[in-house]
Structures are given as C-alpha cells and as structure tokens.
C-alpha cells in the first residue's frame, strides 16, 4: 500500500501552522468580497429586465462563477483529493443528463409534431387563485 508523505501534515492533508491558517483566513475574506460584488452585479443586471434568453445566460455565468468560488475556496475543492474530484465529475455528468433529458424529450417531440402539446399551461393570470379553467384545448399556444 503506498504511503505518500504529505509535505506538512499528512494527517489532515493541510497545514495547521498559525501562519498558514492566517493566510487562509485572508483568502476567505477576499473570496467573500468577490462574492458580495458578484451578488450586487447580478441583482443590478436583473434590473435591466433583459429578454429571457440573455438574462439566463448572464445569470448562469455569474452563478457558476460564484459557485466555483465557494466550492474551490470555502469547500477547499481546489486542494482536494482526486477521489472527490472523480465523484463530483461523475455527479456533474449525471446532473447534466437529468437537466437535458426531460427538456429535450419535449423539444424533440415538439419539433417533430408541432403543437402536439395540446393543453398548454395558463399560469399567465398569476395573481388569481386556482379556479375552474375552460376545457377547450389551446392549439395556438407559443412555446416559451
């Protein structure tokens, strides 16, 4: 069984010396500032009321950036073990499949048989409480 010698503290995989920890603390604060700024940015951009497709892309880019900072530095992923990376890569792949599958099923069917989704939702009248809806199938709906 291989035993690699870590440089400082192989029991914890990280350095517990006061200097090292203090350096880490400074890093955490920088990340916090970055996250705060990015939060502000994403809220500010949302006030422009951009069209949905643009808004989604920008929001996702910012969210992924923020998420990566949290994961890399607060969760120490940046210095984590290969095994954890492997588990996460696998998870992200399956997560992607889950995002894609249901949506693409509908997209593909809609492409092949336009209007096949007869009973489209009517959530537009969002302010009203649930009430009886008319029975006619709405063939003239637009996919969002």
């Amino acid at each position: 069984m291989t035993e690699h010698a870590e440089h400082a503290d192989h029991h914890h995989g990280h350095d517990d010396s006061p200097e090292a920890v203090k350096k880490e603390i400074r890093k955490y604060l920088y990340v916090f500032y970055a996250l705060a700024v990015l939060t502000g940015v994403t809220v500010w951009i949302s006030t422009f009321h951009l069209p949905i497709h643009t808004a989604v892309i920008i929001a996702l880019v910012v969210a992924v950036t923020k998420g990566s900072l949290v994961a890399a530095f607060f969760m120490h992923l940046i210095s984590e073990r290969k095994l954890i990376y492997a588990v996460l890569v696998l998870t992200v792949f399956f997560f992607g499949m889950l995002m894609w599958g249901p949506w693409h099923h509908r997209y593909d069917a809609e492409r092949e048989w336009p209007g096949y989704d007869l009973h489209a939702a009517k959530p537009g009248a969002a302010a009203e409480p649930a009430e009886q809806h008319p029975q006619q199938p709405d063939k003239s709906h637009k996919s969002h």
Partner: protein, 215 residues
C-alpha cells in the same frame, strides 16, 4: 472438506469495551488522503446535487413548455432575497472561520463564529417566513400556478436544509466544550464536515436566487 481446528472466537486484543475502533475516523488514510467523515459528506453532497437537480430539471421543463410564465420581479421580493443572499454567503465565511480558529486551537473564537453562523441561519429563516407570509396574504399558494408551485417547493426544500444545518450547529455549540476537550481533532473534523454541508446549502441558494427571483 476441512479437517481443522474448532472455532476461534474473536477477542479484543486490548481491554474490551463496547465501542469498536474504526480506523481513519479522525486521521486521514494515507492512500486516499481522506478521513471517513470527509469522504462521507462529499458523497452525501453528491446525492444532494442530484436531489436539487431533479427540481431544477422540473423547473426547466415546466417553464420552457409554458406559454406564459411571470418574470421573477413581477411576483417576488428581490430585496429580501438579496439580503438573504448576502446573509448566507456571510455565514459561509463565518463557518470556515470557525473551523480555521479551531485548527489554531482557539475554541472560544471557534464557538463565536459557529454562533454567528447559527444566527445567520435564524435570520435566513426569518426572512423566508416573512416572504412566505406575504405570499399567503396575497393568496399566492403552491396550488395557484406552477410558478408558485416551483417557487415554494424549491425554496421550501432549501429551507428545510437550512434548518437541518442549524440543528447540527446547535448540537455542535452545545457539545463543543466537552468534545474539544475529549478529542480536539475529531471535533474540528466535525465542524469541517458540517461546514462543507453548509457551504453546499449556500451553493444551492446561489443558483436558486437568480433562477427564481431574477429571471
């Protein structure tokens, strides 16, 4: 078949106590570089990614197939949610500071930061309660339409996870003195592991917030 000695019974080499020594509970195993709890929590978080993933998938399907869907600002309180976002991010910082202080041997500061983290949790739930109450006052329920259904389920499940974290932080605070004295490294690990869970809860919110409120 075997013609061999009668059974040997397993006897502990050292004086028997009822707790079995499980290796690598506190210190990392050399070839994986991990202690058990850390691997365990990452695996659990992987499963949580899939759990929230299913809800995001639901949102994507329902939203893209709906003819109309309100923009977030039309229905939801962005100010309150933004405050909560800063709040949660701050609590992520405080929990990792708690862990850092424990590694430095500073139990008091460690407990202080754990306490602030817990407080942030209370603030988060408080603001959520205000949001939900306002929705109900305007007769917006999960049954109103799928926009609200997804809003309530996703933030509700996330809120339950915040609550769960708060319960654990409370337990850690209450038992800190005892555990720190008994096994300092193990307690520090427990804070690290709980912190990882808490960061994940923060991570989910980082995606939930723009998705529900800003799009």
């Amino acid at each position: 078949m075997t013609a061999h000695a009668e059974s040997l019974h397993a006897v502990e080499g050292h004086d028997a106590h009822h707790e079995i020594e499980i290796p690598y509970t506190v210190h990392a195993r050399p070839d994986t570089g991990l202690y058990n709890g850390k691997l365990g929590i990452w695996l659990f978080l992987a499963s949580e990614v899939m759990l929230f993933g299913a809800l995001f998938s639901t949102l994507i399907l329902l939203r893209t197939s709906a003819p109309t869907w309100p923009r977030g600002w039309e229905e939801l309180n962005i100010t309150l949610a933004t405050i909560n976002t800063f709040n949660l991010i701050a609590s992520s910082v405080t929990v990792v500071l708690a862990w850092a202080n424990l590694r430095l041997g500073n139990l008091k500061r460690g407990k202080l930061f754990l306490g602030i983290t817990l407080l942030c949790g209370f603030i988060f739930m408080g603001i959520k309660a205000v949001e939900y109450a306002s929705k109900f006052q305007h007769h917006h329920y999960p049954s109103t339409n799928n926009f609200f259904a997804t809003y309530f389920v996703m933030t509700g499940l996330h809120g339950l996870h915040v609550l769960g974290g708060m319960v654990v932080f409370t337990y850690l605070l209450l038992t800190a003195d005892k555990w720190y004295a008994k096994n300092r490294d193990q307690f520090t690990n427990r804070v690290e592991v709980t912190g990882l869970y808490w960061h994940f809860v923060d991570l989910v919110w980082i995606f939930l917030f723009p998705t529900l409120y800003l799009l």
